[in-house]
Amino acid sequence: MSGEHVIDVTGLTKRFGAFTAVDGVDFDVARGEIFGYLGANGAGKSTTIRMLCGLLAPSEGHATVAGADIARSPERVKRAIGYMSQRFSLYLDLSVEENLRFFAGAYGLSGARREARVGAALALANLSDRRTTVTRELPGGLRQRLALASALLHEPSIVFLDEPTAGVDPAARRDFWRVIRDLARGGTTVFVTTHHLDEAEYCARVGLMVDGRLVALDTPSGLKRTHVPGAMWAVECEAGPRAIRAALEDVEGVVEIEPFGRRAHVRVRGELEDSRRFEVLVAAHCNAGSLRGAHIEKVEATLEDVFLALVGDTRGGPT
């Protein structure tokens, strides 16, 4: 099982006219891996997924998915994979179960086999107690799980999930990810995009796209070590994150200051990684009045910090 690639991508490129949406991307995904694909809107994530699902022909490069070449055998790819798009559609007037029966029919399943697969998908998505609910009455998070269930009916070996948890509340997101992790434990490979970077922590590896290129690919902890080295302090003060930036941005050893809600995350290298040194620095500003009521706490760098470091750098907008 280890080392077996079920997705193999080399130099994958897609151009739309003069615009290069995906630009020479290389990576591979192992069987049973949860692979996260991150990036800003328009970075090329969905275009990559649509190529890997056999829905869009690449302009250059090649990829095999579940042993099939995406350009030469897109139909074989489609049979082997499940795909949940950003704009999935369900029949709102049908019940949960009726939706699944309908999609199972579309996949060519019938009779006892169809009923067995519908039952298995309901169980996997934790929707068995909702089978007769009319889809219109399902809350958003459960509709999303139903869309996932309908992508699993034909027992695909790989599922592509394009922002499956957009707009889902924190409790429902946690439940959705429980289903994803159960799937992966069962040997299904999961390729997922998300803007909730806490979810990306569940991925074995994470790739990060910027303007069509894959600029980083590693485990979540590897990405943090490489791209946000040093120590991270959460600083809070009465006057808010702007005051923290004003007070600390020119201090030697301060690498980066990012507002996080009412606090700011201050990343430091060198001596300031020592908590006593950092406390002395903040206390001095506190006494001088520029950081009144300051409070500091050591925090672990997150993938959001990695994202901001890699994506934030590449654009010319206001800081």
Binding site: N41, E163, A166, G167, H195, G261, R262, V311, G312
Partner: protein, 317 residues
């Protein structure tokens, strides 16, 4: 009841609305004053969208009233409502028009002068990072880009009251921050903004937050006050076997809620049972390390939503 020296820009009193057997909104009163950013949070199906639709006059409440700057919308005619901007979750743009053409169209629709249009379009294209996609047809945008364009169109005219239903769903983290900076700027100029969001970090950035559950406001206040009033204990849990630790933690009676945090877990524990949880964790079958944390707004959300609440009354109550 909250009173302000300056009257609220938008005020809803006792809104009730049922659909068939379901009471979607069950007596909600909200006031947002000029220069205030109010966040409405709650689980899916809590009644957030229905509340917002009543606020902007798209759904008629069964009971209750909405006032803008003191004028009752049911009697004051359309004038009171003209000052309101609204962006629903499913916002319709012209799919066969480009990004720039959509902005120009909505700019004209809102009656902006060409100088205002040019300045605001440029600013909004920069903030949403849609500049290099300005000639792309709206239909060819990804979900997140479409959302950003919709938000840009909604922000073009600067209404006195802006109601946004989950404006940043599917929007990437960098753009999300920039859009928030823009909202703060508008609010700083006196706009009243009411928005719904599934992102708890966004909720924590609002001046006030209302937590809607089963159609009722079960908590309301400044995010920091709600966090201070939070009675339960929050822990960061690290374990080499996170899945194993999670399965055990979930089964513990002291645990009110848990969620992923970084590479570990965040766990909310009934404060009365804190000691017993710590004792259990010290010798749990899956090795784990607990660290007590200061609660944050997501803990408040998960704690309040997980706690038992009165079932909503029957529609005829």
């Amino acid at each position: 009841m909250i009173t302000y020296t300056a009257g609220p820009a938008i005020q809803a009193d006792g809104l009730v609305r049922s659909f068939a057997q379901t009471r979607a909104v069950d007596g909600v009163s909200i006031a947002v004053r000029p220069g205030e950013l109010y966040g409405l949070v709650g689980p899916d199906g809590a009644g957030k969208s229905t509340t917002m639709r009543m606020l902007v006059g798209l759904v008629k409440p069964d009971r209750g009233a909405v006032r803008f700057g003191g004028a009752d919308t049911s009697t004051a005619g359309s004038g009171a409502r003209e000052a309101v901007g609204y962006m629903p979750q499913q916002y319709s743009l012209y799919g066969d028009l480009s990004v720039a053409e959509n902005l120009r169209f909505f700019g004209r629709l809102f009656g902006l002068t060409s100088a205002e249009r040019a300045e605001r379009e440029a600013r909004l294209l920069a903030v949403t990072r849609l500049e290099c996609f300005r000639d792309r047809r709206a239909d060819a945008l990804s979900g997140g880009m479409y959302k950003k364009l919709a938000l840009a169109c909604a922000l073009l005219h600067r209404p006195r009251v802006l109601v946004l239903d989950e404006p940043t769903n599917g929007v990437d983290p960098v753009s999300r921050r920039e859009l928030w900076d823009l909202l703060y700027e508008f609010v700083g100029e006196g706009m009243a903004v009411l928005l719904a969001t599934p992102y708890m970090d966004e909720a924590a950035r609002c001046h006030r937050v209302g937590l809607l559950h089963h159609g009722r406001l079960i908590a309301e206040g400044e995010p920091a006050s709600l966090v201070r009033a939070f009675v339960h204990a929050a822990f960061a849990v690290t374990a080499a076997d996170r899945d194993g630790a999670e399965a055990l933690i979930e089964a513990r009676p002291e645990v009110i809620a848990h969620s992923p945090q970084g590479s570990g877990l965040r766990v909310i524990v009934d404060s009365a049972a804190r000691a017993s949880f710590e004792a259990w964790a010290a010798t749990a079958p899956v090795p784990m390390v607990l660290e007590a944390m200061a609660p944050d707004f997501e803990d408040v959300f998960l704690g309040l939503v997980a706690a038992p609440h009165d079932a909503p009354e029957e529609a005829d109550a």
